[in-house]
Point group: C2
Chain length 333, copies 2
DNA sequence: CTGTTAGCGCCTTCAC
DNA sequence: GTGAAGGCGCTAACAG
């Protein structure tokens, strides 16, 4: 009928041609979701700590970029989609509302950098399955995937002390509200205690932003020369970058005068001068695993709660004192 | 009463809402979409050029991170959500299918780094409004927002030639499939032509990945000393970073022996040593504007097509030859 | 095997 | 003022 003549009513012909022309027809997903009781969408929430500086820009996404890629890749294979939302922690009520609203648009939720109150989480988890990425392992209403913060921190401290003979450590900690920050902090204390020669000469309460690294260094440099540390252990790379920048501005050589190590292994760290030694979190893998679990749980909501820590890896570059030739990665316990 | 106003005592209203909240009830968005004919979701597509290296990891997202933030922020205000998808350009048919599928889940589409064939775009645009970010201004089926590549390139070349007396330029170009790359390329040629003393001593066809910067430099270094350029103009920061790394590995001083400028102003550039001089694209603003337009068009589909270029800005740091004290930003024409 | 129909959850309208 | 009903676009079940 399309090619030659055919005895069809003009109206029918018109209708068929119309359909053909609309070749790009795709069934409306809302209607499909309705009847299938499944939206084929999962949500990824990141909570940004909107903090007392404008450095916020750098936060959040950078950290979850790899997670996002992992999740997106997993989802792409089964043709599901990813809804993403960036929440600010300076407005918990608003964040909660948005979370609720989003939960109505998805089949499951992944929460990264999850500083979400356990109470709110419970509410949301009652509606849709929730999986936390790098969240509190104690959270009863969600599966949790994270990295082994303790082993990672231990490896970094061990390297600094045993390999480079640094003994006077200084800590730049993350916000206590972040479970990861808390774990790294206590692991650091334990690791230092495990090395008789080493001491923790001080600690700065940061909030994961580069500016806190700078501030911490200013505090350090205000001390008399003799009381200064010889190595700084940072709870993330952002702060390590801020610290290094500030040290160099002040004329302190890194790593000769002061070693610095970070945590996360964000891309920018490798570009620094000196390249940053850090503990690598396998973010992409974390994203894939968390996503796989979420999908599983969507299919089978009664699954038992699951908590998993993936291994961290000490990425040795030069800010710890190693030379270019000694670079490498060390899997931690 | 929940939706519109209703004559109820405030106390009663509060009580009802409280109960609703306690029950954890949230209306299902699929059903709402159905009746309202609106999903309150827009999609953001990024096309990754999966290229002959593994450097892919660094691509895509980094570039659109700021766009994403801008869009997300705009959307958050009106409580809409953002669906994101990362397409690979090594499988155009698959990418098209995903695009179609996603178009069924959203009210409009934002395409960033849009290397989508005009034909496919037309099909999708027939279903939902489409706005291109940094896409081809000639695309007839979408509104387009981009940066003024010509003015930006002109400013960079002008600075190199007039301020630093560089005359032997070399170009590391982006993939010809990218409209931005094409514009930058032709603008570079024009700019060089506009400076009688300057010449373009060569050009390398890159693909926006750091590795292409390295390869280009190897090609340059294979030349006899006398025939080498004294400045490299890169079509993006990624490639500039690769180039600088390779130059330094080879013992060539940047900027003393070779100046390098990039394009984009991604965060990592400022962290380099020397800090990268580059042309800044206001990505976040681009995202906000594109999003605003898309929303407008969703509300009012008959709007005339709109193409807009936002001004670029030359961000002067040190890789061009300027000293730390001379850093600053110059708005371009 | 093609054609019809019920109903997914919600909002709006209309009848009472 | 409260309550019932229709229909959004689709799929699956079922009738012819």
């Amino acid at each position: 009928m399309v090619h030659g003549q055919d005895r069809v009513r003009p109206s029918t012909r018109a209708r068929v041609l119309e359909v053909i022309e609309a070749l790009g027809y795709v069934p409306d997903s809302a209607a499909q979701s309705m009847v299938r009781q499944r939206k084929e969408v999962i949500g990824l929430l990141a909570v940004e700590s909107r903090s007392p500086d404008t450095d916020v820009e750098q936060q959040g996404l950078l950290f979850i970029e790899e997670v996002l890629r992992g999740v997106e890749a997993s989802l792409g294979e089964i043709e599901w989609s990813l809804l993403i939302a960036l929440l600010r922690d300076d407005d918990p009520a608003g964040a909660y509302r948005r979370m609720q609203k989003i939960s109505a648009k998805v089949d499951g939720l992944l929460i990264a950098e999850g500083i979400v109150s356990s109470e709110h989480l419970a509410r949301v988890a009652a509606r849709v399955p929730v999986v936390l990425v790098a969240g509190s392992p104690g959270e009863p209403h969600a599966d949790v995937f994270g990295v082994d913060n303790r082993a990672g921190t231990r490896a970094a401290v061990g390297h600094l002390v045993e390999r480079h003979g640094r003994t006077r450590l200084f800590e730049i900690a993350g916000p206590p509200a972040a479970p990861d920050a808390r774990e790294r902090r206590s692991a650091l204390e334990e690791a230092v205690a495990a090395h008789p020669g080493a001491t923790l000469t001080g600690s700065f309460q940061g909030w994961f932003a580069a500016l806190s690294g700078q501030l911490a260094v200013r505090e350090i440099l205000a001390r008399p020369q003799r009381e200064r540390p010889d190595a700084i252990v940072c709870a993330n790379d952002q702060m390590a970058i801020g610290a290094i920048r500030e040290l160099q501005t002040a004329g302190v050589r890194v790593p000769a005068d002061m070693a610095v190590v970070g945590f996360d292994d964000m891309h920018a760290g490798a570009l620094l001068n000196p390249p940053l030694t850090t503990v690598r979190q396998p973010m992409r893998l974390l994203g894939e695993r968390a996503c796989a679990r979420l999908l599983q749980r969507i299919a089978q909501p009664a699954l038992p709660r699951h908590v998993e820590r993936l291994p961290a890896e000490l990425v040795i570059r030069e800010s710890c004192g190693c030379g270019p030739g000694e670079a490498g990665a060390v899997r931690t316990a």
